[in-house]
């Protein structure tokens, strides 16, 4: 069984490309939209937008549904929220580890 933190790498990888982030950002503001509609507002081809949308879908960040000839895409932010809360938990994890280290040193 995987946990949200296991998908963190995929989310970071998907959002590491600046154009892809821009696609995601515009989709967040305007979804559901088609790849053609997104490409009309960006200095990249429709084909490039479609590839970015595929990469975002692979990370679970967007979903698509058929609507006529083209698919309509919308964001599914749960993996991003999971990645953000994973990062926020890093400090708390160290607090737990250091408490456990202190207890370990007392016992030995």
């Amino acid at each position: 069984m995987s946990r949200p933190a296991d998908r963190v790498g995929g989310v970071f990888a998907a959002l590491s490309d600046p154009t892809r982030r821009e696609v995601f950002r515009r989709l967040s503001a305007a979804g559901p939209v088609t790849a053609t509609e997104l490409a009309a507002k960006l200095p990249v081809t429709r084909q490039a937008v479609a590839k970015h949308l595929d990469a975002l879908a692979e990370a679970g960040l967007v979903s698509a549904e058929r609507a006529g000839r083209e698919k309509r895409y919308r964001v599914t932010p749960a993996p991003l929220e999971a990645a953000m809360s994973w990062m926020a938990s890093v400090g708390a994890e160290w607090d737990e580890r250091l408490d456990a280290l202190r207890r370990h040193l007392r016992r030995s």
């Binding site: 069984m1 995987s2 946990r3 933190a5 296991d6 998908r7 963190v8 790498g9 995929g10 970071f12 990888a13 959002l15 590491s16 982030r21 995601f24 950002r25 967040s28 503001a29 979804g31 990370a59 964001v75 932010p77 991003l80 929220e81 990645a83 953000m84 994973w86 990062m87 926020a88 890093v90 400090g91 994890e93 160290w94 607090d95 737990e96 580890r97 250091l98 456990a100 280290l101 202190r102 207890r103 370990h104 040193l105 007392r106 030995s108």
Partner: protein, 128 residues
């Protein structure tokens, strides 16, 4: 958030704290995973295993016993995207013969900034 730092004063000599940071059996007692192997020298490798079997790779970067230890590790990744991982650095400062101040810093975390600013949905900036 780019780095996380924590500090603690431990009632143990620096050599003992160093052993707790570098011996797999002792690391496993507090780090939150079973450390099955750790080759403690620059470039040395290690593996931490979670209860469900997922593994986490460790690679030692700096070793200066008993004062400084740094390694790079990667989240438990099941989706094949290791990325650059994060760097963990321990600095040990002896406070007399029986106490040690330990500082841990984890750095290299990507920064996500929620930039909704009134727009619907989640809009993000990512800064390296």
């Amino acid at each position: 958030m780019e780095r996380v730092e924590r500090q603690i004063v431990l009632d143990a000599p620096a050599d003992d704290v160093w052993a707790a940071l570098t011996e797999p059996r002792r690391l496993s007692a507090w780090i939150g995973a079973q450390v099955v192997a750790l080759d403690v020298r620059a470039g040395g490798r290690g593996t931490a295993r979670r209860a469900d079997g997922a593994e986490r790779r460790i690679r030692i970067e700096d070793v200066e016993p008993p004062r400084r230890l740094a390694f790079r590790w990667w989240p438990y990744e099941l989706d094949g995207h290791p990325g650059p991982g994060t760097r963990v650095e321990f600095v040990l400062d002896a406070i007399g013969p029986a106490q040690t101040r330990l500082t841990v810093t984890e750095s290299g975390l990507p920064r996500f900034v929620d930039a909704t600013g009134g727009e619907p949905g989640v809009v993000v900036e990512m800064r390296a």
